[in-house]
């Protein structure tokens, strides 16, 4: 890979853990510490980061703020070139690790809620179909982690399947919140932020113009 930012593989794994334990902002700050600002740009010259990190750009124009369960991310146009054009995928791979941790955190919040709620007198989390869906989430995330690990070992970008698996896990977990996850609130805000982060920093994309 030309112009690749070299990042210790363990850092990616640490960022995943940080996203799970402390949320998106802390994990992105940890990851961004290893990158020059211009290397944190995504598709179309956009960046989606905790707002203090946008100060590292000379001309960041904030176009939106997206709350999460632990703070907020800001979306900005940077006017800079997309580093993926130079085949530098490191930042995006790191963000994929962060998103895995964020979805794990999101899922834990959802399953904790299902443990408290009851249907027919039993905790919702004990229902077989609910547990099967939790298993689907775990399997999807497991596959994503496996692909990301393999990519780190091979020093190559992972396949676009990583995006599909993380996205599927997020959508399934989102449904665990029921209608409450459809109301604008912490859960839906966080889900939207993770979704948009994947749009801005997707690794592979099947479409085109």
């Amino acid at each position: 890979m030309n112009g690749t930012t070299l990042v210790p593989a363990d850092l990616f794994r640490q960022c995943r853990a940080t996203a799970f334990e402390r949320g998106l902002e802390a994990a992105l700050e940890q990851l961004a510490a290893e990158f020059a600002p211009e290397r944190t740009v995504g598709h179309g010259g956009r960046a989606m980061l905790p707002e203090p990190l946008l100060a590292r750009f000379a001309d960041a124009a904030v176009t939106g703020t997206y709350p999460t369960d632990t703070g907020a991310l800001a979306l900005a146009g940077t006017g800079l070139a997309d580093p993926a054009d130079e085949a530098d995928w490191s930042w995006r791979i790191g963000v994929a690790w962060v998103r895995v941790g964020a979805v794990e955190r999101f899922t834990r919040t959802a399953t904790d809620r299902l443990s408290r709620r009851r249907i027919g007198g039993n905790p919702t989390i004990t229902l077989p179909l609910v547990r099967a869906a939790v298993g689907d989430v775990a399997a999807a995330l497991g596959q994503a982690v496996g692909l990301l690990d393999a990519a780190v070992s091979a020093a190559e970008p992972p396949p676009a399947l990583v995006e599909a698996e993380i996205g599927q896990a997020l959508r399934t977990s989102w449904k665990f919140f029921g209608a409450s996850g459809y109301v604008v609130d912490t859960a839906s805000d966080t889900g939207q932020a993770i979704t948009l982060l994947s749009d801005v920093y997707s690794i592979g994309f099947g479409g085109g113009r």
Binding site: G44, I119, G167, G178, A179, V183, L196, G207, R209
Partner: protein
Amino acid sequence: MSTTHAPEAIRAAVSEHAAEFRKTALATHLGEIAFEDVVRSLDPAILRCSLPPEYNDTPLRIGSAPLYVRRISESVVVQEELAWGDAGLVLAMPWATLATFVIDQMARPQIRETHYTRLAERSEWTFFAVTEPEHGSDPVAMETTIAADGDGLVIDGVKRYVGHGFRGSSGLVFCRKAGTSGPTGLEIAWIDAKTPGFTATELRTIGLRGAGLSELRFDGVRIDPGDVLGGKSSSTRRGLFGATRTFDMLRPGVGAMALGVARAAYDYVRAERRTLRSDEAAAMDRFAERIAGARALIAAAARAVDAQQPCGSLSSAAKLTAVRLAEDVTVASLRLLGPCARLDHPLMDKLRRDAQGFEFMEGMTDIQRQTVAQGYLTNRFWPAPTGPRA
């Protein structure tokens, strides 16, 4: 019952209205225009389209024949077409309420008269309050109570995720007779929203914003005993019975709206991506087949409802199939439109958000799967009669 119209004739009669719906779809979603204002500006023919003939002097027309959208098999075609334009606006229509179906089946004549007069003359909204904050729509756990108090009845409790709740001038509330437990002892009561003790707060949603989801509070709301629906029926023929039958009737409509959103996303991608790679073209062809399949299943379920056959499992299958399709098509569409499609194609972002919402209407997918399985295993899955094909 009025003349039977072929689905394609109904589709053609509604398509211009669907195009009108599309014109305001993004502005209402973004809060730039109020749904209520758009609704009140609509052609009366569409504003009253599902009202009974005696309350509708401006029906839709197919040629010279009036179209009163009273059959579910007609309603699903109208809902699919209009949802192609804007599913949010479909849900903002005063006739888009579960309450109408229950009132038709169970209410005394005076309540029905009040309901339809308000709809026809003032386009007023009606809510149907079932879901509770901590228990969803689990009837066993329902906590909103109705209790005798002097010569009247008093309702206490909280409902959440109720469509039209904050804009409704009246509505139905599902409640439990004080001192009962389990699925029996449930009642449906009609209330006027001006009754002291009733308050409603809008809940902002990520999509389908025309639904007007709300939280309703009942703090000592007094009603007349005659306002309990089906009051002279046996306890097994009211309450939960009414809600179950209503959900069975309405699921094909939810499926139809999801199908309309799926079609809208499909058409959007076709318009934006004139050339596709072979794998992308194959995926789109597969979606076209699934759209046809979902439409056929919805039509079969609707015919079963119209024939008053047991239709719960077929209705569930229709909703389940269409909701999955809407999710798959909208997710794939965003991918096909390229990076940051949510930001660069705001209508597509809205369609994706709308598609997410159908999951929570009239029972989630896992519930539908179980209902379908139960119907299939007990040989009650295929009651659909033959009739006009979609």
